[in-house]
């Protein structure tokens, strides 16, 4: 298509939107609502994911040794663990360090109680803390560590991360369901708007056909109309979300004091929009195109 024809068709597409004001506004409003809700769900999913990833990164496996295991053997075990697949970090905690941590945690208000112990009561508690790349790989790593000689016990505590993962999965399914319904509604509305445009321009279409306009040329303004409705309907909610996201996060964290630490883990607006902006625009434009193209194919005989 020539540049002049493209320009003409874009102009006609814009004129179509202006001619069917009410339908166009209804389409844009529905699309705005859909993409806004999509953005909200998307933000929640992305943030829950970020929290889960953070938790997973901090959830480790603790490896204890059989009584009488020498320091040299412990070193060897450490090297064996480091060489396992999916292991990202191995940190050694000696029995003395463990006892200090224990005192800090349990006797911080009554340090005199700890003085009653002359020897280290948890002398057999030297351990390795092992971090794995993904929580899904933790079980396999634990299983392999358990087979290493002189390993007495392997503790894993992935419950919180697993719960979050399950929550995120269920929330994702619900979100997908709601979004699909909303997107179908938006597609139907855009299709109706384009259909009205076709009815209003029936004479013009007939004239264009008589004077030798190609099918492509006749259809193009309606495709442009759908595309523009989708684009406007996706840009509006993205702008609203962009400016309200920071406030929403601050309000959420201030309402739930216990979650104040999460502030650093939650995504900032830049990180979120790196994904949300392109996905939202592609979704809006895609729905506009699908709604318009299906209507043009069904109702526009050229």
């Amino acid at each position: 298509m020539r540049l002049s024809s493209l320009g003409y068709n874009i102009k006609q597409g814009i004129k179509n939107i202006a001619r069917n004001k009410m339908f166009s506004i209804a389409s844009i409003a529905t699309m705005t609502a859909c993409i806004f809700l999509f953005g909200v769900f998307f933000s929640i999913i992305m943030n829950v994911n970020a929290v889960r990833t953070d938790l997973e990164e901090r959830v480790g496996v603790t490896v204890f040794f059989e009584e009488g295991t020498t320091d040299a053997r412990m070193q060897e075990i450490g090297n064996e663990i480091k060489n396992l697949d999916h292991v990202t970090e191995v940190t050694f905690t000696s029995a003395d360090e463990a006892w200090k941590i224990y005192q800090k945690d349990y006797f911080k208000n009554n340090p005199e109680l700890a003085e009653g112990f002359k020897d280290n009561p948890i002398a057999n508690s030297a351990s390795y803390t092992v971090l794995v790349d993904k929580i899904e790989n933790q079980d396999a790593v634990v299983h392999q560590i358990q087979t290493i000689q002189n390993v007495r016990q392997v503790n894993q505590s992935s419950g919180a991360a697993k719960t979050l993962r399950d929550f995120n999965r269920i929330f994702t399914y619900i979100s997908i369901g709601v979004i699909i319904i909303l997107l179908i509604v938006a597609t139907i509305l855009i299709s109706n708007t384009v259909n009205v445009g076709i009815t209003v321009r029936k004479d013009e279409i007939a004239i264009m056909k008589w004077i030798g306009a190609t099918d492509h040329f006749v259809r193009m303004p309606f495709i442009v109309e759908g595309l523009l409705l989708g684009l406007i309907g996706s840009l509006l909610p993205l702008v609203i979300l962009y400016f309200s996201y920071g406030w929403l996060v601050r309000t959420f964290l201030s309402r739930f004091n216990g979650l104040a630490d999460m502030g650093q883990v939650l995504l900032n607006v830049g990180q979120l929009f790196r994904y949300l902006a392109p996905v939202g625009i592609i979704l809006g434009v895609g729905i506009g195109l699908i709604g318009a193209a299906s209507t043009v194919r069904k109702h526009l005989e050229v």
């Binding site: 020539r2 002049s4 024809s5 003409y8 004239i207 004077i211 030798g212 306009a213």
Partner: protein, 227 residues
Amino acid sequence: MIDLDRVSKTYEKGLPAVDEISLHVDKGEFVFLVGDSGSGKSTLIRLLLKEIEPTHGMITVNGHVLNTMKHKAVPAYRRDIGVVFQDFRLLGEMNVFENVALAMHAVGASGRVIRKRVPQCLKEVGLAEKYRNLPRQLSGGEQQRVAIARAIVNRPKILLADEPTGNLDPHNSYEIMKLLETINNNGTTVLVVTHDKELVDHFQKRVITMRRGTIARDVEEGGYIEA
């Protein structure tokens, strides 16, 4: 230029609207197509525009065999044919310039060419001054001139006019026919469907008279004779 070889067109459950017509129109001819309502004149125009397909027979226009022409090739074929209707069929929300320019946009002409050609064309039909007017601000004769300008702006080889003076008073009808004659003198083949006896008699062109889907009479420089 236009060849019809034993062409018939029968609509669903009816008598043939066009029945075994054979016809030849040369390049540069001016032809009046006359006949009663329902005699098949408009069906003939629709066949020539490839809006409908013949039931039998072969139609050749500008060297194109319409029967075998693929859908994709129809727009290019129609660009060589201008059409004018009784009810003008102008777009009410577009001004005169835009109505004429539409035909050029449809064939992908550039803005520069459109800005040059449309005023020329409006000058040819005597409406150079009224390019900004909306159709409703023009008389019937002027509206038909805009429709003619739109039909010839892409310099078609053939101009089909279906009752172009049907909604006009005698003076405007005469002016429009004069305009069509001028277009014909410039080399365009013109085929005019009309009921206007006085005009046909006045202009003394080739007259094809249709009756019940057949050609009842075909005379050079003839007058209007009731079929």
